[in-house]
């Protein structure tokens, strides 16, 4: 997926003015936020389950090399082939080589954020393989040539009428207007692809060290199709997705759908282990698993390691006031919301995503809802510090802070300056007592208003404090 994170501010402005998107985001809040809180309330010992889930992820990361080798050993023993990829380009090369080896003409894909990281579809199309996304949302996006805007509900930004127009144009069938009819039309189109595809490509929500299995959850059933019907199955996932045992997997599955969509469990939880066995009449003859680093090892062993616990539920974005206002596209890469504000700079470089660690009010809604207890605001704050250390803050901000530091160490000068500033700002406030444009601070006020100092024509805090003390004594 093309990286456009440096345009966060411009994109945000467009998105705030997008009426359809704003309506969709409201609904998302209603459904996913309420769904999560209802499902969590049903678990009487939720805090203990959440602690256990965070523990499982942390314990695995602390022994990641051993668990990955255990996974590889068990997957290989059951006939799967495990590949390791340093980066997106290697993933693409491996998949393209497999496509050539097995003479693949068509591949069907179930939703995989890791393959979005790699822009795998483009790579496969470049070598002449037809790729069909089969998650309804991803299918719509593929037809519309748009990137996903949410990791769980990828097409949340589109309204039904747009889908009707799109299907009518691309399928060449009479235009449907009902949602069930649109879904049926997609089902019929995709059914043909499922049966005729040579390769199924999936992600993996988790991989299990104990058994060498890969696991995916879907509601539509496309995950089952992709891992059952084509003669080759390729599962692509990040190295951090490993969990030790099936029991540990059960704990994580208990929390993932609750936090993602407000469901107690997703419709289909599919655990696949190796290729077709003797006597089996379905299932792939060849099963390949690709483990991607893609920047993940950079997070290990440092102050960002906790981020690797992420189980991609999307709760942090559903609860984020910034995401709720601007949607996913503004973030400019695969992962939006608070988790994206950390992963994007870490995977693609802090200098390419300067705005993201700052695209947060640090209100900690995300940290509160995260099922694996990732301290998201702390991590964003650390990234901001790193930006400062690396000189990646805008020059004006650095100079401003330096000037403030100089003045703050000189109480007299500071008092005079703040007094003048408070008076000027009070005078600048419009009738609604808000300052819409701040000289030298245009960047800041372009996205928000600043309340003008009120009361007594703009006294400073020190003046007010002094006055109060005089009255009291």
């Amino acid at each position: 997926m093309q990286l456009t994170s440096h345009q966060f501010k411009t994109r945000s402005r467009e998105k705030l003015a997008d009426v359809n998107l704003q309506g969709a985001l409201k609904k998302l809040q209603g459904n996913f936020v309420k769904g999560r809180s209802d499902r969590v309330a049903e678990l009487e010992n939720f805090p203990a389950i959440r602690d256990a889930a965070a523990d499982i992820r942390a314990r695995t990361l602390a022994n990641l090399d051993v668990y990955l080798e255990e996974f590889e050993r068990n997957a290989t023993a059951r006939g799967a082939t495990v590949h390791w990829a340093e980066n997106a380009a290697e993933v693409n090369r491996i998949v393209c080589e497999l496509a050539a080896k097995y003479a693949v003409k068509k591949a069907v894909k179930s939703k995989s954020m890791v393959s979005e990281e790699c822009a795998l579809n483009d790579a496969l199309e470049a070598v002449g393989v037809e790729v069909v996304e089969t998650d309804l949302g991803e299918y719509i996006l593929q037809l519309a040539k748009e990137p996903p805007s949410h990791i769980v509900a990828p097409v949340v930004h589109k309204i039904k009428d747009e889908v009707s127009d799109l299907f009518a144009a691309k399928h060449g069938l009479p235009r449907k207007t009902g949602i069930p009819e649109l879904c049926k039309e997609a089902r019929d189109m995709l059914r043909g692809h499922f049966v005729s595809a040579d390769m199924g490509i999936s992600g993996a929500n988790f991989i299990v060290a104990e058994t060498g299995s890969t696991m995916i959850v879907t509601n539509e059933g496309n995950g089952r199709m992709v891992t059952t019907l084509p003669r080759v199955h390729v599962a692509i996932t990040g190295i951090e997705k490993v969990v030790p045992t099936l029991e540990d997997l059960s704990t994580l599955i208990r929390l993932l759908p609750r936090h993602a969509t407000g469901q107690t469990i997703s419709n289909y939880v599919s655990v696949t282990t190796g290729p077709q066995r003797d006597g089996d009449t379905d299932g792939p003859q060849h099963f390949h698993i690709i483990l991607l680093d893609g920047g993940r090892t950079k997070l290990l062993g440092g102050d960002m390691q906790d981020m690797l616990r992420c189980i991609r539920c999307g709760a942090c974005m559903n609860h984020c006031p910034v995401y709720q206002s601007v949607g996913g596209h503004a973030y400019g890469w695969v992962y939006p919301g608070p988790m994206g504000s950390i992963l994007t700079p870490m995977y693609v470089g802090l200098e390419n995503a300067r705005d993201l660690p700052n695209a947060s009010t640090l209100c900690n809604q995300c940290g509160v809802v995260c099922p694996v207890k990732i301290p998201l605001p702390d991590l964003m704050r650390k990234l901001r510090e790193r930006q400062f250390e690396q000189g990646l803050k805008p020059r004006r901000e650095t100079w401003g802070l330096a000037a403030w530091r100089w003045a703050a160490q000189r109480p007299r000068i500071y008092a005079t300056l703040t007094k003048t500033a408070a008076r000027v700002l009070a005078a600048m406030g419009s009738s609604d007592r808000l300052i819409h444009k701040l000289p030298f601070g245009g960047g800041w006020t372009s996205g928000r208003d600043m309340p003008a100092p009120t009361g007594l024509r703009g006294k400073t805090f020190r003046e007010l404090y002094q006055a109060r003390r005089t009255v009291k004594s």
């Binding site: 090399d65 290989t76 104990e210």
Partner: protein
């Protein structure tokens, strides 16, 4: 450098092996791992213990809880005393929904009396055009109202996936509290992981367009569970 068996690196050089070593090497360095630091033993011990983490307390009437939760996920349920009652119940269901009286089933169900109940039954894996698939299950989970099926020669997963209607025959003795017990049961009764373990929780669904719930996305539109209360009897 060693070439991993089955890997395509034999064809295209040895870079795959080096990616593996490089990634594992970086992990070990970042985690400050030292040889003989006991990590391998700790991992082995954790896996072998199969420890169960805190989870909801599922006690009391498992059957009632399974029933409630399955209905919540939009499965439908009929209860019969004996497995021999399954064909009549299935037929009544198909008629009630105006569905075709023609189906495919798993091997273990082939000897039931389908024909005298008006169902044209074939014992084979489902194809994309079959309308009704009838299967058994390995067990079922009370906590969520979920069915668990295992792939195998006589239990093809396609039969619960491709048809528009899935009818599942479940015995009350197969209901376990949670997924954890289901794995235990799999370990003790089957031993080896089958190629596919599928947990099925109601009809296939999507809410991708305007977050409006629609049933029958790619899999079945309907999941009908026939719950057989006789103990462990088999066909």
């Amino acid at each position: 450098m060693r070439c991993r068996p089955g890997s395509i690196c034999r064809r295209s050089g040895s870079s795959r092996v080096s990616a593996r070593e490089a990634i594992l090497g970086r992990i070990r360095t970042s985690l400050r791992r030292a040889d003989g630091d006991g990590a391998a033993e700790r991992v082995r011990a954790h896996i072998d213990a199969h420890a169960v983490s805190p989870r909801p307390h599922i006690t009391g009437d498992l059957i009632a809880q399974f029933r409630d939760n399955a209905v919540r996920l939009l499965s439908t349920i009929a209860e019969v005393p004996h497995v021999r009652d399954v064909p009549a119940t299935a037929a009544a269901y198909l008629r009630a929904y105006n569905l075709p009286m023609r189906a495919v089933c798993w091997k273990a169900l082939r000897l039931l009396d389908w024909v005298n109940n008006g169902i044209l039954m074939e014992e084979r894996p489902a194809r994309a055009t079959d309308m009704v698939g009838v299967t058994e299950v390995f067990c079922a989970i009370a906590e969520t109202g979920t069915l668990m099926t295992l792939s195998g020669e006589h239990t093809p997963p396609v039969s619960s996936l491709l048809p528009e209607t899935h009818i599942a025959v479940l015995r009350t003795s197969q209901i376990v509290p949670s997924m954890e017990e289901a794995w235990q049961r799999l370990r003790y009764t089957v031993g080896e992981m089958p190629r596919a373990v599928n947990f099925i929780s109601g009809p296939s669904r999507t809410a991708d367009i305007e977050q409006t719930l629609t049933l029958g996305a790619h899999g079945p539109y309907r999941v009908h569970i026939i719950l057989v209360s006789e103990g462990d009897s088999r066909v």
